[in-house]
Symmetry: C2
Subunit: 381 residues, 2 copies
Amino acid sequence: MTAKSKSEGPSRKDKDRLDRKTIDAIQDAARKVHGKIEKGQKPEMSFPVRSLQNVHFDKAKGYFEIGRSKKSRTLTVSTVRTFAQTLKMMSLSKDLVETNDFATKRDAYYQSKNCAEAGFHDQAESDTVMDDIEALFSIEGLSREQLRFIPDEHGGAVAGELIVNDPDYATGAVHRIDCTQFGSGAYSIPSLVEHLSFETNAKFVLAIETGGMFQRLQSHRFWEKADCILVSMAGVPTRATRRFVRKLADECRLPVYAFVDCDPYGISNIYRTLKVGSGNAAHVSRFFYVPQARFLGVTPQDIVDYKLPTHPLKEIDVKRAKDALKNDPFFKTYPVWAKALEQQLRMGVRAEQQALAKWGLNYVIEEYLPEKLAKADRFLP
Amino acid sequence: MTAKSKSEGPSRKDKDRLDRKTIDAIQDAARKVHGKIEKGQKPEMSFPVRSLQNVHFDKAKGYFEIGRSKKSRTLTVSTVRTFAQTLKMMSLSKDLVETNDFATKRDAYYQSKNCAEAGFHDQAESDTVMDDIEALFSIEGLSREQLRFIPDEHGGAVAGELIVNDPDYATGAVHRIDCTQFGSGAYSIPSLVEHLSFETNAKFVLAIETGGMFQRLQSHRFWEKADCILVSMAGVPTRATRRFVRKLADECRLPVYAFVDCDPYGISNIYRTLKVGSGNAAHVSRFFYVPQARFLGVTPQDIVDYKLPTHPLKEIDVKRAKDALKNDPFFKTYPVWAKALEQQLRMGVRAEQQALAKWGLNYVIEEYLPEKLAKADRFLP
């Protein structure tokens, strides 16, 4: 494959610079606490408030942004455990950056078991502290991944017109992973993607909700016909999958088309999260949102146009759609989206992407996708 | 990589022979129905009963085997829809084999939407018919995958000392996938694995419960130190993952070591399913069970030996362990397993595989796994 587009990816130097910045930020925060103690004052730390009430959506920026509300934690008898835990967790992050290692939420929780009184009682406790630290450093432009805390979820699968370059900074070797060469299999995205770079001549990324549909398009080499990269999201995409797609879209200037079920879950949970981020993790949306994403389908209008078999909307679907219309800044910003959701509520039905199989198993490849892709400018935003 | 072990994989001829056998079996079943109708008699079909009551476990065979109980379905006014649906589904399978295509359960359900009165009302209905057909043809040694019905689940991830050969029967090209070359990423197992073959010099397969532990072992290239193949199961392994591990273990004569959480779910759901199959799908266990599997850990005794941090057993854990001891033919067959479960019930606690992080994030790589692997002959069966 000869690639038209090629991203550079961070060099060893870029990586070292960012790691230095991370360590400096951690040390600064620790030094402030230390300084106060030296002066005999009560140390305090303040963290952005993480809740929907502290989230803004600015169409121009395109992602859920955390607001200015902060909560302070002053060292007192009642906060001493959490305070110590926060410092311990920051110290773990510093160690991880220095040794170029990483830890999952669970790893971090178990690591604390050696901290006597400062150990976490349960994982909910350690998750809260990790989220606080993540929110704190996100203000400095540092993601949780940069702090070396990785998710424990499986990554999405990728196939098609893409070469992934994965450098091993220790040995200097670069693995060149050609995603056209996996036969019926695929490339599984790692938990950390910051070090990757790309080569591609694809025209777009197709982000697919179900494993079954991904396997159909992969086995029939749809990516070859359509010059594209297939990504299996397997439901709401994991953070690693979202960050991978974002990097790919940014660095190779590719549009991203989402192909999901036509129901409020597919639209407001899967697609909305892919495009602008999730409400309760707004403090990190800037690293994960994919502004290049547009909605290929299945749209409520597709149900009519393609005479798709449907199921009635469930109570939870109706609740989800009404919530989105009333409270979700994303749907309130785009009148065409509000219209589409209202249309679905009026119709009272939903359709899965595999409903296209009514017209033949490969109707999706031969008719539906080519027709839709010919009018990509009409995709919902 | 130079491989010591190499599997041949099915040739185009093998594949054609098996496909011919599948089509013949479908046509035979259809012909019997047709013959009865021609003679003016009521046609009937009989299927193995799929329930735990109709399951045997024979230690020598090593998998959950379906018994002799059958249920008959005679064509009457009340069975006419199901009868027609069964024939339609068999006809779809025949088409899929002939065109070398495949369908998920959902695809099959939606395909029926064009069958007027014989269409399925809901997916539960089509799943039952598919399970019946699968049970029917399993007697002839044909798996659901051979009938070209594939699961809609994501496949597991693989990394390490393995080359997967994936032939494209249409073009004759063979993709040679080197699983040492994925950097921090991995190979994602496709839904159908029958056509794959392998080259390896690994000494064993390590089947891992969590994505986080898999990423740790993969990023630190544990497979290189230990000469092995890493497989991420991400919970209870999917059918594609189990079949992949089984083929690999069979064809390259490799032992399989399971590395899961020490709780009744890890032991009785994940490990038991990997090794002998699941109770309610006993009619297909013979295709999926992995008799080579042995239990590396985490064992209840490991909790003591490695002083692991624990959580109390939940009510569901206790129920699961007691059920396994009382009703599960696998645990009733192996007294050492019954002892281990009883030990866990006595201790009243469980431990996650990531609990080893208490002793350092890479304690698992530097101490735990090498120590355990040196005494592989003592692994639980």
